[in-house]
Amino acid sequence: MDAPQTILIVDDEKAILRFLRASLEEAGFSVLEASSGRSALELAAAKKPDVVLLDLGLPDLDGLEVIERLREWTSAPVIVVSVRNDESDKIEALDRGADDYLTKPFGVEELLARIRVALRHAERAREDPEPLYRHGDLRIDLTARRVWLGKKEVRLSPLQYALLSILVRNAGRVVGQKQLLKELWPEGGSNPEALRILVHQTRHRIEREPVRPRHLKTEPAVGYRLEDSEDPS
């Protein structure tokens, strides 16, 4: 086993720091703490953490600015922690290079899942993507370009398949609406409405109960998230 992976927590609330440190150390991570934007940037430069957990509301710098400055020199995953009603902040954070976000209040399972996904994507950026996705009764094979729901193969339109393949490559991670539009319609000429209809139709193919999707989740006002593959190796 290599040295434990390091997580930098940036938050100015003691109670939150305490709970995050306890949960993350319990899960086997090594934890660094910063309670301001400036100290976060210094600490990140000095210790090179594997993941940064960043609260957007900091006493000195704007959290969005911290993301931007981090992105000038590191591609380490940044997970933003934010409250509800700040959808525009979340979108902005993703645009500036954040990898994912957590909405306060969140549970430890959710936190650990996000961190695991972020770490895996950071690692995989250097390797080929995992070609096989499996979650519950849904199977997607990127090499064969085939999709199964249970034992039945699902027929998808090229656009529906393109949507799924983007989401599979980002499995477990939120994919913003803007990014999806750019990748699905690189020449432009489309709009969020078309994307929502596309997701709606795709759901009716790959979900047993589309109104309560188990695989393809909506992140309200931000984008979509395909649940993480259950068998990533």
């Binding site: 009603n85 929502r196 209809i197 589309p210 989740k217």
Partner: protein, 347 residues
């Protein structure tokens, strides 16, 4: 139209009252002094003034003098007057009738003012029930959380089942608290006018879906039946706020309906609008009138949870979308909430 008709009816009432007085006077006139009949007419005018507005009351005052003159003052059945002293009687009669009308009207206005100040007091009481409702709703989960955490600290080696139960309790109560605080914040934002809707076309299925996802834990083991046709048109909504509407409606159903019963969510297109319903098999709504369930801090009965904010915020959000929301009781039992939203929003 109805205002006109109402006014006509009041004048008709004045005529009727005077006709009645005249009939009564004809019956008793052989036995009483002529001037005593004036009293009968005054009673008639008083009755009109107590029921109606100034116009019909004044009209009745004059009409009573004319009737008295025409039917009873000799020579009878003419407007002529034999003895000039009756002119004084008429004037006094008119003065008294007008005074009575005026006083009666004043009493009525004062009664109405008293009623409206009672309404103000009611509003004040409602406002102060904010504190009691909210503080009660805040304290219950907090007590549960503090208590559960305390007993975990005291007995760190508690048996597996016990420990699990206490921990589940902490998390569920904290989540309830989070939803309540969210509702409080949204209510306050709405009242201070600080809400800007970010309306964009969404499939209703998506909005209902995120609401169900949000309530995933409380919905465990509950049946949810949905009827949302796949080809419904997109609906222009603020997805975050409309999700809150469905979260509150579903939570309301969860709170009132028995665990074994299904919660039913449906939507369909009705002309240029989308109609969505959330229905349960609980005891239904006993509120009278039924719209009171949407009043802030109104709580129906002893069901646990809810500070009476959920349905109020639903109404505020739906109306901000140019829609309407109604509460109904289902014929075969349970409550039903019906939302109607325009399919074309203003840009």
């Amino acid at each position: 139209m109805t205002g006109m008709l109402g006014r006509l009816r009041e004048y008709g009432l004045a005529v009727g009252a005077n006709a009645l007085c005249t009939a009564f006077c004809s019956a008793v006139s052989p036995f009483v002094a002529l001037t005593d009949l004036v009293m009968v007419y005054l009673v008639g005018t008083l009755a009109v003034a107590l029921r109606g507005r100034r116009g019909p009351a004044v009209f009745s005052s004059f009409l009573s003098v004319l009737c008295f003159n025409f039917f009873f003052v000799p020579p009878r059945f003419t407007f002529d007057v034999e003895h000039p002293q009756y002119v004084v009687t008429f004037l006094v009669m008119l003065a008294v009738a007008l005074t009575i009308s005026h006083l009666a009207l004043r009493i009525r206005t004062q009664a109405e003012a008293a009623k409206s100040s009672e309404l103000a007091a009611e509003t004040e009481r409602l406002r102060s029930s904010l504190l009691s409702a909210v503080s009660h709703e805040l304290k219950t989960p907090l007590t549960a959380i503090i208590g559960s955490a305390g007993s975990l600290l005291q007995a760190p080696d508690a048996g597996g089942g016990h420990r699990r139960e206490l921990l589940d309790n902490i998390r569920e109560e904290a989540q309830r608290l989070a939803r309540l605080v969210h509702n409080l914040i949204e209510t306050t934002r709405f009242e201070s006018g600080g809400v800007r809707l970010r309306k964009e076309p969404y499939p209703i299925e998506d909005v209902v879906g995120t609401a169900l996802e949000r309530l995933d834990k409380p919905l465990t083991g509950r049946e949810v039946r949905t009827d949302l046709p796949e080809d419904l048109p997109l609906i222009p909504v603020d997805p975050v706020l409309m999700e809150l509407v469905f979260v509150n409606l579903i939570e309301n159903a969860l709170r009132h309906a028995p665990e074994s019963s299904a919660i039913e969510i449906a939507a369909r297109q009705v002309g240029g609008r989308l109609e969505a319903t959330v229905a349960d098999r609980g005891p239904g709504l006993r509120t009278q009138p039924i719209e009171r369930v949407f009043e802030k801090f109104y709580r129906a009965g002893p069901a646990p949870g809810g500070a009476g904010l959920g349905l109020a915020i639903c109404k505020a959000v739906v109306e901000a979308h140019g829609g309407s929301i109604q509460a109904e009781n289902r014929v075969d039992g349970g409550a039903l909430f019906r939302l109607s939203l325009p399919l074309r929003g203003e840009p």
